[in-house]
């Protein structure tokens, strides 16, 4: 037997529907706050696909169906805890107070899509796969060295577990007992590559054994299950026990990104079946069964989220284009002098 437990939820039970039993530690307000976060992420994603089709944002990585993993994780954290998103979690900063316009500008390629990670404890969006895992390990370790009790969560996909950076980051985190939760969004696809071509491991959570860390495997469509798993990882980390690997199992039933054509590689029947177990709808059903949510509440939350996006895209589109100075401005705190000469030259050539 392994010294580190792999806790596996009964996935079949959860898929069949969560019984209307109130979870421990979450009151009505907390349950509704979780719902609101799910809807804000869902609406952000829906509108972004539309904005892309209208030419208002650039290529966009869709996360429909993964809101439960993102919201479940964020709600298991305190504000002092850090989040390291991949591009699949591009809008997770919304849940930490980043304006929708900032994230939309990121996808519009405008420099005001930059944000200050320290202000919201959300690292910059990591575009290369898994290379943010060592950052999260280093930050978490560095905070522990300063005797802070804050923790970090790094979110990445199933494909990321094949990358060297994931391995090196996980190993470092475990060796240094960094207060970190490694949250794997196992949506079973890396663009067109299915999980079976990604790994010979039976379960991604089994990889944790090799790093000497515990793992929890949950249904990624069940926001309460994700919340509970991440909360346990956070408690473990805060207690100085080091990192936990959480595998949230879901299915990517939408394209990888707006530029992707999954009809070439997916199983349509499977996709339809997976769309039928949508994480937002499932949670709404659960809350209705529990008697804490009604149609009017759903309508109100959705309207608020739509208003947030309308205001966000408006603010983004109203912003003036970036000055060419911004091409040079922030690469260095103390730039080599040739950058100033380059800017001067650029302005000279383009002056009419």
């Amino acid at each position: 037997m392994s010294a580190v437990p792999v806790v596996e939820q009964d996935l079949e039970r959860v898929i069949a529907g969560r019984p209307a039993v109130r979870p421990a530690g979450l009151d009505d307000d907390a349950l509704l706050a979780l719902h609101r976060s799910l809807v804000r992420l869902r609406v952000y994603d829906e509108r972004s696909v539309v904005y892309h089709s209208q030419g208002r944002i650039g290529t966009y990585a869709i996360f429909r169906g993964h809101e439960a993993i993102q919201a479940g994780a964020v709600h298991a954290l305190e504000e002092r805890d850090w989040i390291f998103p991949s591009y699949r979690e591009s809008a997770i900063g919304l849940l930490r107070g980043l304006p929708a316009s900032t994230i939309l500008q990121w996808w519009r390629g405008h420099p005001s899509g930059w944000w200050n990670p320290e202000e919201v404890n959300v690292a910059s969006i990591c575009v290369p796969i898994a290379t943010h895992v060592p950052h999260a390990a280093g930050l978490a370790w560095g905070l522990a060295l300063k005797e802070s009790d804050a923790v970090a969560v790094a979110i990445f996909g199933d494909g990321a577990t094949s990358e060297g950076a994931f391995h090196e980051g996980a190993n470092l985190a475990a060796v240094f007992r960094a207060p970190l939760v490694l949250l794997c969004n196992n949506n079973q696809w890396a663009i067109s590559t299915p999980l079976r071509d990604q790994t010979a491991a039976e379960r991604l959570s089994d990889k944790a054994v090799g790093y000497g860390m515990p793992a929890i495997r949950v249904d990624g469509n069940d926001v309460l299950a994700v919340h509970d798993a991440v909360r346990r990882g956070v408690e473990h980390a805060r207690a100085g026990e080091g990192p936990t690997f959480v595998e949230a199992v879901t299915y990517r039933s939408f394209p990888h990104a707006t530029a992707d054509d999954p009809s070439i590689y997916v199983d349509r029947e499977r996709v339809e079946a997976e769309r039928g177990r949508d994480c937002v709808a499932a949670y709404e059903t659960y809350l209705r069964d529990l008697g804490v949510l009604d149609d009017e509440d759903v309508q109100t939350v959705r309207e608020e989220a739509l208003a947030e996006l309308r205001a966000g895209i408006q603010a983004a589109e109203d912003e003036a284009p970036g000055d060419p100075e911004l091409v040079f401005a922030h690469a260095y705190a103390d730039p080599p002098p040739d950058l100033a000469r380059d800017l001067e030259e650029l302005r000279r050539v383009h002056e009419r």
């Binding site: 930059w114 320290e118 060592p134 930050l139 370790w141 190993n171 922030h330 690469a331």
Partner: protein, 331 residues
């Protein structure tokens, strides 16, 4: 150089590196050292000797073997308020870390709109001539200089090894320091005691001359000085030690070449797209009418660094530098 007397000690280059680390860790409690074998052993070259004893194991950390991993962790350490000094054990061992260097180290500040700083240092022994196995001999500075967002310095003397490392540690941006391991224990010189900083971006005139400028950095500076000695009866040769490749002291470079009218650039790294090519391009752009002959490059070759029984054929030699100088003088 200050006119006031500064107490100095005679040190080998690697001892000067060690001295800088001791001084800077004592000066700033946010500076930490990490890398492979830097703690218990004090580094395979002893560059980090005594740090663990002096500052504790939380500030001199032995990492798992993971150059990309611990450089990535250093990015996160910066975010947590530390100033990490990362050792790559050998030049060619640093290649895995280029992933983090290119995708994050050089970009993260920019990615935050300048709101977060990443004041980390990568230092590594580099270069050949030490009779070592394969991949312990490379001069990879070009990869680093070519990466936006990082700075690069290469000391040639013990005093500069200390001063440039101190400047790197205090710099708000990521800095990569290449330490010429060939002369780790043979370059000796007076090193100022206590705090000693050599500003990045300032070249050093190692030898004054009026007929031709030899431009070099790191271990090639001493080769150029020997070549200048050998040529003393024929020509007055200036040797310019660049010290920093980025930022580059182009003013010192242009001033020297405008005065001498001739230039040979010497580098250990392979020729194509090496930093010597950049120097040649700058001279073509800014000094064309001052030149009395072609700018020649004496470099390693565009081949893998050879096994050590052949390495002396590969390394730029005094003879090759003298030959290049004579060709320019005869032009």
């Amino acid at each position: 150089m200050s006119a006031t007397a500064v107490a100095t000690r005679e040190l080998m280059l690697v001892e000067a590196v060690n001295d800088a680390l001791h001084v800077e860790l004592a000066r700033d409690p946010s500076v930490i050292v990490l890398g492979e074998d830097v703690g218990r052993l004090g580094g395979v070259f002893r560059a980090t000797a005594g740090l663990r004893e002096a500052f504790g194991e939380k500030r001199c950390i032995d990492t798992p073997l993971s150059e990309a991993g611990f450089l990535g962790a250093a990015v996160g350490l910066c975010m947590a308020g530390w100033r990490p000094v990362v050792e790559m054990q050998y030049d060619a061992f640093s290649y895995p870390c280029l992933d983090q260097l290119i995708t994050h180290v050089g970009r993260y500040r920019w990615r935050t709109g300048g709101r977060m700083g990443f004041p980390l240092v990568i230092r590594m022994p580099y270069g050949g001539g030490v009779r070592a196995p394969e991949l312990h001999d490379d001069s990879p500075e070009t990869y680093y200089v070519h990466t936006p967002g990082v700075k690069v310095a290469v000391p040639a003397t013990p005093a500069d090894a200390k001063g440039l490392l101190a400047a790197a540690i205090r710099d708000p941006d990521p800095v990569v320091l290449f330490e010429p391991k060939l002369v780790y224990r043979t370059a000796r010189g007076a090193v100022p005691e206590g705090e000693h900083v050599v500003e990045l971006g300032k070249a050093r005139r190692a030898r004054e001359g009026s007929d031709l400028t030899l431009v070099a950095w790191g271990a090639m500076v001493a080769v150029c000085e020997r070549a200048a000695d050998d040529l003393a009866a024929e020509a007055s040769v200036e040797v310019l030690d660049l010290r920093s490749l980025k930022p580059l002291d182009d003013e010192a470079l242009l001033a020297s070449v405008r005065r001498t009218g001739r230039c040979v650039v010497v580098q250990e790294a392979p020729r194509t797209c090496g930093f010597a090519s950049e120097i040649s391009a700058l001279l073509a752009e800014h000094a064309i009418l001052d030149l009395q002959g072609p700018v020649l490059r004496v470099t390693g070759y565009d081949v893998p660094y050879p096994y050590w029984q052949l390495e002396d054929w590969y390394m730029p030699s005094v003879e090759r530098v003298v030959d290049a100088v004579r060709r320019v003088l005869a032009f």
